[in-house]
Amino acid sequence: MKHKVKNVNLAIMLAVITLFQLICAFTLIEKGESENRLNIIITFGGYILAEYAYFIGAKLILGRRGFEVELIAFLLTSISLSVTASVYPSLAVKQLIATLLGIAGFVILQIILRNIDFCMRLRYPVAFLAFGLLVFTLVFAKITNGAKNWIYIGGLSIQPSELVKVAFIFVGAATLEKLQSNKSLTKFIIFALGCIGTLFLMYDFGTALIFFFTFIVISFMRSGDIRTLILICAAALLGGLLILRFKPYVASRFEAFGHVWEYFDTSGYQQTRVMIYSASGGLFGVGLGNGKLRNIFAATEDLIFGVICEEFGWIMAAAILLSYVALLVYSIKHSRYARSSFYAICACAAAALMLFQASLNVFGVNDILPLTGVTLPFVSRGGSSIMSCWMLLAFIKAVDRGTYRYGGVRQ
């Protein structure tokens, strides 16, 4: 007999996530100093409220079904908040605000995506705004940790390239509707070259690589022309080699790659610590707040995967990675039956971007790839990153035909 696959039970899953969050909060309150307790209560309380508000709105008011995508995102963000509140309790509320802004962006973007005609009208303004933002960053940003990708406004620091990721996919997919009478990729290639070139000038090679990968995914989905894509990749490889040949300081950033143990206390310091402490985590970890990797620079950002391996264990780390794969498979499956190719391209590009970024992060900290300093989607600390991830999730959600159907039907 064929087993019928059903959506997960929202009430049960939400109860499990809430329990997870409450245990994390109580553990942190118990371990933390008394002045940080209020921060932890505000962070987890606010987040749980936002979570329930979203699901009540979507399920009871809009009558939607199928919440796996959001449940994964909410749980991953919970892990991020837990680690942030554990390592930097004073920054937890700030991370919560960024998360709430991201969730708001997720909802607003879903509303915008509902109307394809409106999306088509938005594509040029969004393209100019995105490119302008990168140029602004290039001109006004200061070099931080080797890359010129942060803008400081008052007490706020923003990484515009994270937000431009959303615009990049939106613009790339929005020009597709024209494809039904115009197969040219020229405008998108010019836009992509502008963005990737600017990122290179900012020395933000990790993000540039992510943009290039996303460009390849969008181009393939739009044209299906593998020969052109091979040519583009070959040209990019050649360009990369030329950069390494004539700009040796770029190569010097990756000098430890492949043999980090030889640079144990210098440029391989972070990778070697990640590998040592990850191994000590075992299957179930040493417990939230009990790790040692948390004391290493960028533990909650670039090295977060190591912190999860150490404090939550390998099984949970593997489950997190599986969830990125699941998002991509879900997007690919639904893309064939999507209401429009626009949704199909947006979803596949967004999910592929997340998986690629996660791979760069995980393989980077384990010395399988050069350490590029990219974040782990939804899990790493960082306001711009979390906002960008939630907005990218709107693209994945939009591919499902049921997303824009409000209410239920029964006989």
């Binding site: 997960v8 997870f20 994964i72 892990i79 009478s181 179930f284 417990g287 429009s340």
Partner: protein, 241 residues
């Protein structure tokens, strides 16, 4: 206290893994329901090509949904798209063009049940619904015998059988087909059965009932393959499976 903390780490990991694995496995296994929205029938060979996607590419290339291996057909010849108000065909800059009922289309044209579409030398009949029904000329063609009909939700694929003398549709509790959405009227529409032939009547003053993209203003006869829309909800009228 130390003991509690010791077990907490197992509990935390178990809870997170339960959610992530459940959701991930569900996403990996769930498949969108496949539904045949329309059919293209080759007039020369009688071969049928079901249209199961919202956008269906027709052409000679390997990556098209409907592949026609003829020199007169361009690699990417046309796209058939299901939009809010019915089916459209787009000419994707094909060399030979797309002809609809003998006339060359200019970029795009709306498709109707029974239209003849030519992609190069390949001539097809277009039928809305799950099977090629042939030309419909009179009532006897559509109801030659007492058939059991149903409305199928195009998005979910759920089928609602039409039984009795009438079927009510609306937000009101107790409607035969109850649609719980804010923009659906309490009494949205009624379908009446007259000797096996079904008619649709619009009852709403605020949300129009659409039949193949046209507003229903008076009782209108339903034919197999008709698309009925109540607000955001589209249904296919056809024989009960």
């Amino acid at each position: 206290m130390v003991e509690i903390e010791y077990y907490t780490r197992y509990l935390l990991a178990a809870l997170a893994i339960a959610v992530l694995l459940n959701c991930a496995i569900s996403l990996l296994r769930l498949r969108p329901k496949k539904k045949v929205y329309a059919v293209l029938q080759n007039l020369a060979t009688n071969e049928e090509y079901p249209i199961t996607c919202y956008e269906t590419a027709v052409g000679r290339a390997r990556n098209t949904d409907i592949r026609l291996k003829l020199p007169s057909v361009s690699r990417a010849h046309a796209v058939i798209a299901l939009r809010k108000d019915g089916f459209y065909i787009f000419d994707t800059e094909s060399k030979q063009g797309v002809y609809l009922n003998g006339e060359k289309i200019d970029k795009t044209a709306k498709l109707s049940h029974g239209d003849t579409v030519a992609f190069g030398m390949e001539i097809m009949k277009f039928y809305v619904g799950s099977e090629a029904a042939g030309d419909i000329k009179n009532i006897e063609d559509i109801a030659p015998e007492q058939k059991n009909y149903s409305l199928t939700d195009i998005v979910s694929g759920n089928e609602f059988s039409l039984e009795g003398d009438y079927v009510t549709v609306g937000r009101e509790e107790g409607s035969n087909i109850e649609i719980t959405a804010p923009n659906i009227s309490r009494k949205q529409a009624i379908l009446t059965n007259e000797n096996g032939i079904w008619y649709i009547h619009n009852l709403s003053r605020t949300t129009p009932t659409l039949l193949n993209g046209q507003t229903v203003v008076s009782p209108t006869l339903l034919r197999e393959g008709d698309v009925i829309k109540f607000g955001d909800f589209a249904f296919l009228f056809g024989e009960k499976e």
